[in-house]
C-alpha cells in the first residue's frame, strides 16, 4: 500500500514542470529609479561636510556660499568648542565671570589659548608646505538663539588670536 502511494508520488514528481520561473522586477526597477533620482538631487558635491550637533540649531539664511576647509568653531548653549574639543563651558549661553579677562571683558582666555595653539600648528604646517598658508579663516557654527553679546566676545577673541575672517555657518533656506 505504502509502495503504491510512493509510486503515485513519484509519478507526480516526474510530471512536474522544471522549477524555473521569472521574478517580475519591473515595479522594483521603477521604485529604484525614483529613489535614484531623489538621491542624486540631494547628493552633496561640497568637499567640506559640516554636521551640526543635535544641541545646535543654526540660523537659516539665503546665502549659498559653500564652506571651505578651515578651522571649525562651535558656540552652543553648553559650551564653546574648537575642532570638537570643548574649551569653555557655557551655562545656558552665558559665560562664567572667571572665563573672561578681568581687564578686558570681551576676552575669553581659554578660547584664546586654544586658538593660539591652532595658529601655531597652522603656521608650522605652512612653513613645511609652501602650498598651504595661514589665512586666518574660521567657520563659526552658533546656536541661532544666542545673543550677539557672546558671539561678539568669541569673534573678538578669535581676532586677537589671528582669526580675523570669521564666517558664520547657516542652514540654507530653500
Amino acid at each position: 500500500m505504502a509502495l503504491g502511494r510512493r509510486r503515485g508520488m513519484g509519478k507526480y514528481i516526474d510530471k512536474r514542470v522544471a522549477s524555473t520561473f521569472k521574478i517580475q522586477i519591473t515595479s522594483m526597477v521603477d521604485m529604484f529609479v525614483i529613489l535614484l533620482v531623489f538621491l542624486l538631487k540631494s547628493y552633496s558635491t561640497s568637499p567640506v561636510n559640516i554636521n551640526p550637533s543635535d544641541q545646535l540649531t543654526l540660523p537659516a539664511s539665503s546665502s549659498t556660499k559653500d564652506p571651505t576647509e578651515v578651522l571649525k568653531m562651535v558656540v552652543s548653549k553648553t559650551g564653546i568648542f574648537v575642532d570638537d574639543k570643548k574649551v569653555v563651558d557655557l551655562k545656558d549661553g552665558a559665560l562664567a565671570t572667571g572665563d573672561v579677562d578681568s581687564n578686558d571683558t570681551q576676552f575669553i582666555r581659554a578660547l584664546y589659548s586654544e586658538l593660539d595653539e591652532q595658529v601655531k600648528k597652522s603656521r608650522t604646517i605652512a612653513s613645511q608646505n609652501s602650498e598651504l598658508e595661514f589665512d586666518g579663516k574660521v567657520i563659526m557654527q552658533a546656536e541661532r538663539s544666542l545673543p550677539y553679546d557672546i558671539l561678539r566676545k568669541v569673534m573678538y577673541t578669535s581676532m586677537m588670536a589671528g582669526y580675523s575672517d570669521v564666517k558664520i555657518a547657516v542652514m540654507l533656506k530653500e
Binding site: 522594483m28 556660499k65 541661532r144 544666542l146 542652514m171
Partner: protein, 180 residues
C-alpha cells in the same frame, strides 16, 4: 503570412533588467552615504569675478568718503546712518510686532542704493541682546535685490563702464567687535 507571424513573434521580447538593477543597487548605497538633507552654507560675499573687482575698487574709493552704518537696537529698530563726505544722514526702520521689519529695511536700503549705487560695504552694529537669527535675517535682507526688483547699475571706476548687479550691501562687517 508566415513572414508576418515571424515578425510579430520578434516584436515581443522580455527586457533583461537584471544588469540595470545591479548598477542601481550598487549606486544607491553610495548615494545614501553622501546624501545631505540640510545644506550648510556660510555667509560671505557671493560676487562674480568681474563684479568682484569693480566692487572692491568701489569700496576702496569710498572707504573714507562714504560710510554706511546700521545699528540694530534691542527693540529691533534699525537705524541706518550714512556719512557722506563728513555729512551724516539718518534713516530709521521701526520694528514690526517686536521683530525687525525686514521688508521695510529692504525698501529703505533699495532707496539708499539709488543715491549711492557704488557703496557695497556696511558696518553692522547690533546691540548685545539681539539674537543671531535676527542678525542673519538683517544681513539677508540687505545683501541682494529681490528677483522682482530692478538690478543696481554702477560705474566701474577702473574701466568706466556701467556694471549691472543684484548686490545691495553684501560686504558686511561687524563694526563693534573690535570696539570692545
Amino acid at each position: 503570412m508566415r513572414a508576418l507571424k515571424s515578425r510579430i513573434d520578434d516584436s515581443t521580447f522580455e527586457l533583461n533588467l537584471a544588469p540595470m538593477l545591479d548598477i542601481i543597487v550598487s549606486i544607491i548605497p553610495m548615494l545614501l552615504l553622501s546624501v545631505v538633507f540640510t545644506r550648510i552654507t556660510v555667509i560671505d560675499t557671493p560676487v562674480p569675478q568681474a563684479v568682484e573687482q569693480a566692487v572692491a575698487a568701489a569700496n576702496e574709493k569710498n572707504k573714507d568718503l562714504i560710510q554706511v552704518r546700521m545699528a540694530v537696537a534691542k527693540n529691533r529698530n534699525v537705524q541706518i546712518t550714512i556719512v557722506d563726505h563728513g555729512q551724516s544722514k539718518d534713516y530709521e526702520v521701526a520694528a514690526l510686532n517686536a521683530k525687525t521689519d525686514l521688508d521695510g529695511l529692504y525698501k529703505q536700503v533699495l532707496a539708499i542704493k539709488k543715491d549711492y549705487p557704488d557703496v557695497f560695504r556696511v558696518e553692522l552694529n547690533p546691540e548685545e541682546s539681539v539674537p543671531l537669527e535676527e542678525i542673519v535675517a538683517v544681513m539677508d535682507s540687505v545683501r541682494t535685490t529681490k528677483s522682482s526688483d530692478k538690478k543696481v547699475v554702477f560705474t566701474d571706476s577702473t574701466t568706466g563702464k556701467p556694471v549691472e548687479t543684484n548686490l545691495l550691501l553684501p560686504d558686511i562687517i561687524f563694526g563693534n567687535v573690535a570696539g570692545g
